[in-house]
Symmetry: C2
Subunit: 365 residues, 2 copies
C-alpha cells in the first residue's frame, strides 16, 4: 500500500485486554467525526465500518482521493443527518488507516507484523468503547453498521448493553458460517502463498504481497455481488474487443473489472491487516461468547434494534438476520426487521437502495 | 504434478481444426473403456469428464490410487451397466492425463506450455469425435456428462447431431455466466501470480506453481458445495482442538479440509491445463456459436435428451438447465427434465443421490 498519511487519532489511556488473553498497550484509535456534538453529548452516532472500510465515511479518502464510502447516507439532510447528529467513525484495531494494527509500530520500534495478537470483533469493539470513554460519550444515540460493521454493532449491544440507545445492523450475521470461513481462508492462503508476504515481514523491504492480496480481494469481491447483478452489469460482454482473443488477457468485462478491483485494493490496504481482520470475522460467533445461546447475549438489553437484510445477499443471507431477530425476540428486546429487495447482493448496503435510506432515517428519529 | 504414467491412447490420423483458427497436428487421445463393444457397435456410451476429471471413471487412478470418479454409477449392474454397454471415457484435449495438452510435447520436442492454442469445449468434442471415428463408432447409444462433461454432451448434440441417440446432461449449462467466469478468473490469477508459474515455462525446472494452483482449487471447490452442505459437514467445528488457537493455523475443520483439497489437487493436475480448460469453459456459449439463438443449435437434432439439475447447485443452477430445455422444446426435440433435491451442491452429480441413479438408468434403457 501507499505511504500512510497523518490521521486524527487518540491514544487509549489504558491497556486493552484481548479475547486471546494478550494485552495491547498504547493503542491508537484513528477516527473522523461529522456534525456537532450536543452539549449533553446525547446526539452521537457511532458508525462501524466493514472489513476493508475505514473512518472516511463521508469525506475524501486520503490515499485514493475518492469520496467517503457512505456519502450517500451520511451528511447534512441525509438519512444519517450530520445537521442533527454527531457521527463518529473510527478505524478498527487490526486495520491500517491509523489505528493500531500489524503495520503499526511495535515495542521494538518496528512494525508488529505477525507478532500482532490475533483479535476478535469484540476486541475491536473494546477499542471503540475506549474511544467513546476518551470522548466522554456515555450513551450513543445509535450504533450503526453494515457487514462487519453490523457485527460490531451487535457485539457492542451484547457486551456493552448500556452504551447504545439504538442498534442498527445491516446485511450482517451473528456468526460466520462454514462458507464464510471458507472464502476467507482462500484469501488468506492467496496472501500467504505470495513469496513477497515473507511471513508478514515485508514492511522493511517495501516489496508487498500485492499479487496475493489482489487475488484475495477478487475472490471476496465475487461474494459481495449477486449472480443476477453480475449478469446484469457484465453478462458475457467482451472488453474493448468484438471477438474473443483466444488468449489469457481479460476478454470479458467481468475479468477486467475483477482485475481492477484487485489491483486498486492493494494500493490502500495492508495484507497483514487483511489476514487479521478476516480472522476476527471468522472467529465471530456471539452466541458462543455467551454460553451458546444467542438470546442470552442480549438478555437485559436496554437498546432498540433494527435489522436489515437484502434478498440478493448470499454472503449474509436473510436467514442470518432472522436468526438474530428471533434471539432478540426471545430476549424481549424491541426489534424491527426488514428484508429489502435489491439486485446488488451483499454490497446493496453501500449502493443506491432508496428503501434503505428510509429505514435508516426512520429508525434514527 | 507427479511424473505421468503410461496411458492407453490413440493418435488422430487427421489434424484437428480449432475454433481459434489454429490446427493441432498429431493429437493424442488417451482413453479407457469398460464393457464389451457389441458386434454392431451399437452399445457404446461416451462418458465426458468434468474440469479436473479424467478417463479413469471406473478404474483406479494411476497417480492417486483412488477409485474411479464415477464408480458408483458405472460398472456391471450399475446404472450405466458395463455388462450391457461399452463405456468409453477419454481425457479431453488441453488436460494432462495422456491427451494432447500444454504439458505434452510440442514440435520442438519440449512441452507446448503457453504456446498451446486456446481451445474450446467444441474443440474438445472434435477430439472425442476423432476418437470415435478411429474406433469405428458411427452412432453412440448415448453421450453422458456432468458439469463440463454435460457441456461436451450438449456441444456434441449441437455440432454432431447424427452421432448420439441419447444425450444426458447433468448439472450443467449451455453458457458460462459472469459469476462462473469471475470464479475461474480468480483461479487463473492465483496461478499466474505464483512466481513458480514462470509464464507457464515450469516443466524443465520441475518447480511447479503448486501454491497458486492450490488456491485456485480451493476457490473453485467452494463453488462445488452448497452453503447448507458446508454447514452440515463442518459448521464452525474446530479441527483437532477444543479452543480457538488465536493464530493462523487451520482452526476450523472447513479450513483444514480446503487446504487438503488444494494440496492434493496439485499432485495430479497440471497448472497450465487448469488455465486452458477454465478458459474453454468460460468461452462456452452454444447459442453464440449458432447465431445467437440456442434453439437453432439443436434444430434438426435426431437425439433424445435428458437434463438433470440439483436444487442446491448454485454454480449451474436449475434455471440454466431449464433454459436448455426450453430451447430443445422450441427445436421440437424430445426432452425430459428433472430437478433433483440433494444437499451437496454442484458436486451432487458425483455423490450418493439414489434418485440420480434411477434417472440415469431409466434414460439409458
Amino acid at each position: 500500500m501507499a505511504p500512510t498519511p497523518a490521521f486524527s487519532a487518540i491514544t487509549l489511556p489504558h491497556a486493552l485486554p484481548l479475547d486471546s488473553g494478550e494485552v495491547l498497550e498504547g493503542v491508537q484509535i484513528a477516527f473522523e467525526t461529522y456534525g456537532e456534538l450536543a452539549a449533553d453529548k446525547g446526539n452521537a452516532i457511532l458508525l462501524c465500518h466493514a472489513l476493508t472500510g475505514d473512518q472516511f465515511v463521508a469525506s475524501e479518502h486520503p490515499i485514493t482521493g475518492k469520496p467517503g464510502w457512505w456519502e450517500r447516507m451520511v451528511g447534512p439532510g441525509k438519512p444519517i443527518d450530520t445537521g442533527r447528529f454527531h457521527v463518529i467513525c473510527a478505524n478498527v484495531i487490526g486495520s491500517c488507516m491509523g489505528s493500531t494494527g500489524p503495520a503499526s509500530e511495535g515495542p521494538e520500534g518496528k512494525p508488529h507484523a505477525m507478532a500482532f495478537p490475533v483479535i476478535t470483533i469484540r476486541d475491536m469493539v473494546r477499542g471503540l468503547i475506549g474511544l467513546l470513554d476518551v470522548l466522554g460519550i456515555e450513551r450513543l444515540h445509535a450504533v450503526v453498521g453494515g457487514s462487519m460493521g453490523g457485527m460490531q454493532a451487535l457485539s457492542l449491544a451484547a457486551n456493552f448493553p448500556e452504551r447504545a440507545e439504538r442498534v442498527l445492523a445491516i446485511a450482517t450475521t451473528a456468526r460466520h458460517s462454514a462458507q464464510n470461513i471458507a472464502f476467507h481462508e482462500v484469501g488468506r492462503q492467496a496472501i500467504m502463498a505470495d513469496p513477497a508476504w515473507a511471513d508478514g515481514e515485508y514492511y522493511a523491504s517495501g516489496i508487498t504481497p500485492d499479487a496475493g492480496l489482489a487475488v484475495a480481494r477478487m475472490a471476496a469481491h465475487i461474494t459481495y455481488l449477486s449472480e443476477e447483478g453480475l449478469t446484469e452489469k457484465f453478462g458475457r460482454r467482451l472488453q474493448d474487443r468484438t471477438e474473443k482473443g483466444f488468449g489469457f488477457d481479460a476478454d470479458f468485462q467481468v475479468e477486467s473489472y475483477l482485475r481492477y478491483q484487485g489491483s486498486g485494493f492493494t494500493r490502500r490496504f495492508d495484507a497483514n491487516s487483511y489476514l487479521y481482520i478476516t480472522r476476527a470475522m471468522d472467529y465471530f460467533d456471539i452466541a458462543e461468547e455467551h454460553g451458546g445461546l444467542l438470546a442470552d447475549a442480549f438478555a437485559g438489553t436496554t437498546s432498540r434494534f433494527c435489522l436489515v437484510s437484502f434478498d440478493s445477499d448470499w454472503l449474509y443471507p436473510t436467514a442470518e438476520s432472522r436468526h438474530v431477530v428471533h434471539a432478540l425476540n426471545a430476549a424481549g428486546a424491541p426489534v424491527s426487521f426488514v428484508e429489502l429487495s435489491a439486485p446488488f447482493g451483499h454490497d446493496s448496503f453501500l449502493l443506491e437502495v432508496p428503501a434503505l435510506d428510509r429505514v435508516v432515517k426512520g429508525f434514527l428519529e
